[in-house]
Symmetry: none
Subunit: 222 residues, 2 copies
Amino acid sequence: MRVLVAEDDRGLRETLSRGLRESGYTVDAVPDGQAAVEYLRTYDYEVVVLDWRMPQVSGLEVLQWMRRDARANPVLMLTARDTPRDRVTGLDEGADDYLVKPFDFAELLARLRALQRRPRTAQPPRLAVGDVIYDPAAQEVRIGSQRPALTATERGILEMLMRRSPAVVDRRSIAQSVWANDADALGSNTIDVHMARLRSKLAGGRVRIESVRAVGYRILGQ
Amino acid sequence: MRVLVAEDDRGLRETLSRGLRESGYTVDAVPDGQAAVEYLRTYDYEVVVLDWRMPQVSGLEVLQWMRRDARANPVLMLTARDTPRDRVTGLDEGADDYLVKPFDFAELLARLRALQRRPRTAQPPRLAVGDVIYDPAAQEVRIGSQRPALTATERGILEMLMRRSPAVVDRRSIAQSVWANDADALGSNTIDVHMARLRSKLAGGRVRIESVRAVGYRILGQ
DNA sequence: AGAGGCCGTAACGCAGTCTTCATGATCCGC
DNA sequence: GCGGATCATGAAGACTGCGTTACGGCCTCT
């Protein structure tokens, strides 16, 4: 298991390196964000441990770079900050987990194990298909610079389609994701109508919603 | 997005339900582990929020049942306990995340979003014969780089043939796999007609559909 | 109470799909 | 080789699912 540790405090960095090696990991440790990016560019790691606060390039910036670059490696952030607000920021930027200093080493190991089990994050916090961007946190949709006013139902459907894109989403999945009782939505033409409304609101964007007869729908960029 | 919440404290349960619904989730809330298992058996959820301490069946036991039952749904554990030791236990049992009460609601939302980000099911099982590939999950057929437009019935028949390939599939099996009432399909030449169309659409691929007189059909790679 | 927005249902037309029918080809036992 | 059975294929009508529009009920905000 290869792990990259980015931590500017020398003492902590060495403690982490030693401890992780004793636990069977292969560790590369770097003292700042700049070096972390270099290493990430060059080597491949299963898990990345990033200190939030580092000189020059912070852990958050490294994380943002990773996600922009479509790197899906699980990331565990270390930080001294402990306000809920900070945690929200970190998680929404695509961190997979979060640990507050000072921390218990056994817990770090457990969280690393959990991250390894978890399938890669694979997706940045924002969904994008064509020029349509959906931000699940803000529940906001953008088409280029436009901001179409979608209703809650339409956003729910759109989110489902975008998460699975370019695969086909069957009607049952759509129904389940939006309605508690999928039966009535399946029995009527409710989905079709919402789909029509969604299509008209997305018209002008560089996407299209294809219908796959007898199965469901899918959204594709153009 | 469907979420199951299992929490015995009524006040917290209702707060969670209301808050999550306002954030766009479809929520089922249950007061104990027993009910949680029932619901998990019956419905499908994207994320499960489990209180650790519950009467009768605890959240940890629900989690253990899920993992024994090979349920891969992301699980977020809620708990009042806050020793590193407990966290280690929870994470090692397969919880994907962990939140200590009292918690900030925005953080709960952020962690749920992080959990949802996990990619769709590992890798979809695929059927391949010759250069024809069928993905049952996406219901998509490819011949090399081509994507022939098959109808639902044709896909159903093709899937059956490919699953059994290179064995012969008798007409009864084909009928049963596609039609609720296999009788009428067997009495007519409907199957033959579909088979002809399927052949023509697969022409160009390195496969052929052989007919086995008085028995059925089979598909072979070339 | 009224206005407006959102949602679900109904109705209808259309396009794509399925089944049936007709006809010809092929196979198999005798 | 002959006859019956089985299969292949083309065309036509029946059917189904989808797109669309319109409308009524519900909720929220004022």
